[in-house]
């Protein structure tokens, strides 16, 4: 055997070795027709944009069509029920935020559900659903504690809006109020969207709102000031573009729920393990793809990836805390 042939042989062997090593890294693709990403809201919102961002990049990874299916209704419960009604074969996944995933519905739903939190498992978490305390640029409050002090001094004098009612956001607010000893002292009202609350901050109806701020257009927005962002200080990524104080820092107290909200991909727990592995691999690959990250960054929502285990720990903890706090919600939010 000539030296040249020997080199080619070594090269081929290395290539085969590398390929087989790669094949061992990537779990076997079980998808032979299509993957359906169920968005439990109608077209046009943040959750829809997240699902469609995956759709645009995922087909290159999994080699089958990716379909985004919008199923609105019931505050995301209809889409969740739909995914649960599908066979546990991993062909249907659900995208939800920290406020309206199965972990939250299983605690807060006003109706009986045919499933429990144990029937669901996260595939991974890919974005932070950052909410923040927002005021108008000419607000009398320069810090979050200014507003807290005001309601302590004069209960009912500050109108505060949050998203809801009936969502996990009710409990985020109650946790914040409990920590600042201001339960029942705010003029607390509910809005169905961040945009509607923003409009009423400008109209002067609202003094403050706890709404979505994780779009870059909120940075230096001339009409709004973000007094604090709901993110845990220990979980702020290195390249995080928002430098507002965290709620925990602003009030000087550690919180469990505020700041624990991540956009998550869910599947059913009884999906075969190797399929869950493949889905995790597929979503993680896309979430770490440069084009996807740039698109998400351009949209104003930085991409990240938290694996199944981390996501499961996060959601289990949130679920337990929601259960603990539900009686408080039932007492203070009359439905």
């Amino acid at each position: 055997m000539s030296r040249m042939t020997g080199r080619v042989g070594v090269l081929l062997a290395a290539l085969v070795g590398a390929t087989s090593a790669f094949a061992q890294d990537a779990p076997e693709n079980f998808l032979n027709r299509q993957l359906t990403i169920v968005i439990p809201y109608g077209p046009g919102g943040l959750t829809d944009a997240r699902g469609r961002a995956f759709q645009a990049h995922m087909e290159d990874v999994i080699d089958v069509p990716v379909v985004v299916q919008n199923l609105s209704g019931g505050g995301a419960l209809v889409g969740t029920n739909f995914v649960y009604s599908r066979p546990s074969d991993g062909t249907h996944v659900l995208i939800a935020s920290g406020s309206d995933g199965p972990h939250a519905h299983s605690v807060l739903s006003p109706t009986e559900l045919g499933w429990s939190w144990e029937d669901w498992t996260p595939i991974g978490q890919f974005a932070m659903s950052i909410l923040g305390f927002v005021v108008s640029e000419d607000s009398q409050f320069e810090t979050l504690m200014d507003a807290v002090e005001q309601v302590r001094k004069e209960p009912g004098s500050v109108t505060l809006a949050s998203l809801g009612p009936g969502r996990a956001d009710d409990l985020y607010m109650l946790e914040f109020m409990q920590a600042t000893d201001t339960i029942g002292k705010w003029n607390w009202v509910f809005y169905s969207s961040s945009a509607a609350a923003q409009a009423d901050i400008l109209s002067g109806d609202l003094d403050m709102a706890y709404i979505g701020v994780s779009r870059k257009d909120m940075i230096d927005h001339p009409n709004f000031e973000v007094l604090a962002q709901g993110i845990k200080p220990s979980e702020i990524p290195d390249d995080w573009p928002f430098d507002w104080p965290t709620v925990e820092d602003a009030i000087g107290t550690e919180l469990d729920l505020v700041g624990a909200s991540y956009a998550t991909v869910f599947a059913k727990t009884d999906t075969p393990e190797e399929r869950l592995d493949y889905l995790e691999y597929a979503f993680e690959t896309v979430a770490n793809d440069e084009g996807f990250r740039k698109a998400r960054d351009d949209y104003g929502e930085p991409a990240l990836w938290r694996d199944r285990e981390t996501a499961q720990d996060n959601l289990d903890a949130v679920h337990t805390k929601l259960q603990e706090m539900k009686p408080l919600r039932d007492e203070h939010v009359k439905q």
Binding site: Q69, G75, S203, D205, D298, Q335
Partner: protein, 507 residues
């Protein structure tokens, strides 16, 4: 202020960019014409395909779909009595009656040119009045939005829509208000009537109601009125561009004031977040009725009604984007999709946009104008063919309506329960029609009722009764009360007089 306009004109002069706007317009035209397939659904479907495009192009294509679907939401209403969206309902009331008289071509031509005139007025209004609209948008809070919606309900409900039979008209609005109470009360989260059916927690979807109220009874009518359609088949439906255009010019000469008034009205209403093209359409129709010298034609096929509604709702299209451009606040699902496309394009809407990206703002506003021109260019040949829909045999038309309605109803929410609900609403609509209760009034109540309830209750929660005593809210409240009392007095007095006469005779 006009900085960046040159850049925008150069961008729009590029044939490729024009082609994308043209494609958006064409898709919007189709989406608006088919019952239940909304412009928003079409925009969402196409959004992933815009990722590789130049940013302004993708925004323009989406805006083309949005604007054209609003323009064409009345086309199906004129042709087969099924509007493509809520903004097309007032035109449906008059346009379909005109079509049955063999005047479909006239109604469609008026629809298309009135839409264009409206879009021009809206465009000019958006350009000149944007600073005022920003103030208007920031002054209208919960109480004002709720009271404005109530004022619209009172004006239209006691005016044009209840002209023939005020008691039945008001009763139908009441039924609509009841329909609007189904589902989760947004201020409290309390689920009314349907606690065990999460699909209905958001209430009856507007598409289900439109398909139920219009498509289902129409299917019954088509199936049972074969003789009637033989008569329609006898009508001459020749559509001549020149003849119809000259006819429209005559209408414009006679009623130029109506076009101007309703255009300005629509322009102003569009700038109020949350009201948009639907309120503009109804109030434009009401203004046409109020100022008409031939009020008896309303409900029987009034071309003025078509002109007023279409001018107003299309004038509102450019200004519905003003809160998004000027404040960075998306006031509707369509605006949210456009915002998404903006952000993907690296453009951040808001007060700074005119300073940072004046060229892009002008590109969008001028793009809307171009969409209006494209709509005329595509719409006229489309309508020339479309008038013959009124001559299609029911045996072919019924399955087509059933198929498109079912698809549109399913697409609206993604679950089949919507189809059954639409069918149930449709059966109820057949009964309502038998009782001579106007279904347009039911729709008006179902659309405005939830907005009125949500906003007024929110205003009360925020500031108690004193919130309604702030100057702008108080003015709207007094106007509403005045028009309510006046409308009831004017409408019900003749009936009470007749009742007294009847009692006198009986005695």
């Amino acid at each position: 202020m006009y900085e960046g306009m040159g850049e925008a004109l150069v961008f729009l002069a590029n044939p490729l960019n024009l082609a994308w706007i043209g494609l958006g317009t064409l898709l919007g035209l189709i989406a608006g014409t088919l019952p239940g397939v909304s412009g928003v659904s079409m925009m969402a479907l196409l959004l992933p395909f815009t990722f590789g495009m130049p940013p302004e192009t993708s925004v323009l294509m989406l805006i083309g779909i949005y604007a054209a679907s609003t323009y064409s939401s009345s086309t199906g209403g004129i042709l087969y009595n099924i509007p493509g969206g809520a903004a097309g309902v007032p035109t449906t009331v008059e346009g379909y009656k005109l079509a049955l008289k063999g005047r479909a071509g006239e109604a469609l031509t008026t629809d298309i040119y009135a839409s264009f005139i409206g879009s021009v007025i809206g465009f000019v209004g958006a350009v000149i009045l944007t600073p005022i609209f920003i103030v208007l948008a920031t002054q209208f809070g919960t109480a004002e939005r709720g009271l404005f919606a109530l004022l619209a309900l009172v004006l239209v409900g006691t005016g044009a829509l209840s002209r023939a039979d005020p008691l039945r008209g008001l009763l139908a609005i009441g039924i609509g208000l009841l329909v609007g109470t189904v589902g989760m009360q947004p201020n409290t989260g309390f689920v009314r009537f349907v606690k065990d059916i999460p699909q209905l927690w958001d209430g009856f979807h507007l598409v289900w109601i439109i398909v139920g109220l219009y498509a289902v009874p129409q299917i019954f009518r088509l199936a049972s009125l074969e003789k009637y359609f033989e008569a329609v088949r006898g009508l001459d439906l020749h559509y001549g561009f020149g003849v119809e255009f000259r006819r429209f010019l005559g209408l414009l000469r006679r009623h130029w004031g109506l076009f101007l008034k309703t255009g300005i009205l629509g322009t102003c209403i569009g700038a109020i977040p949350g009201l948009g093209t639907v309120a503009a359409s109804w109030l434009g129709y009401q203004e046409a009725y109020r100022s008409s010298k031939t009020k008896e034609e309303f409900g029987n096929g009034s071309i003025e009604g078509v002109a007023g509604a279409e001018t107003a709702n299309n004038a509102a299209v450019p200004t519905t984007i003003v809160p998004l451009l000027a404040l960075g606040i998306p006031g509707s699902a369509a605006s949210a999709l456009i915002l998404g496309a903006f952000l993907l394009a690296g453009i951040q809407p808001g007060p700074q946009m005119m300073e940072v990206n004046p060229g892009k703002v002008w590109t969008i506003l001028l793009g809307l104008f171009v969409t209006g021109a494209f709509f005329v260019a595509f719409g006229l040949p489309f309508h020339r063919i479309a008038v013959y829909v009124t001559k299609v045999r029911p045996a072919y038309l019924i399955p087509a309506i059933v198929a498109f309605s079912a698809i549109g109803t399913f697409l609206a929410t993604g679950f089949e329960l919507g189809i059954y609900i639409a069918l149930a609403i449709g059966l109820a609509a057949v009964v309502l029609e038998r009782l001579h209760l106007p279904v347009a009034n039911v729709l008006l109540g179902a659309i405005l009722g939830p907005t009125i309830e949500k906003e007024l209750l929110l205003a009360y929660n925020i500031g108690g009764f004193s919130r309604f005593l702030q100057p702008s809210a108080l003015a709207l409240l007094l106007l509403t009360l005045f028009f309510l009392v006046w409308g009831l007095y004017r409408n019900l007095l003749p009936g009470l007089g007749a009742l007294r006469v009847a009692k006198g005779r009986a005695a």
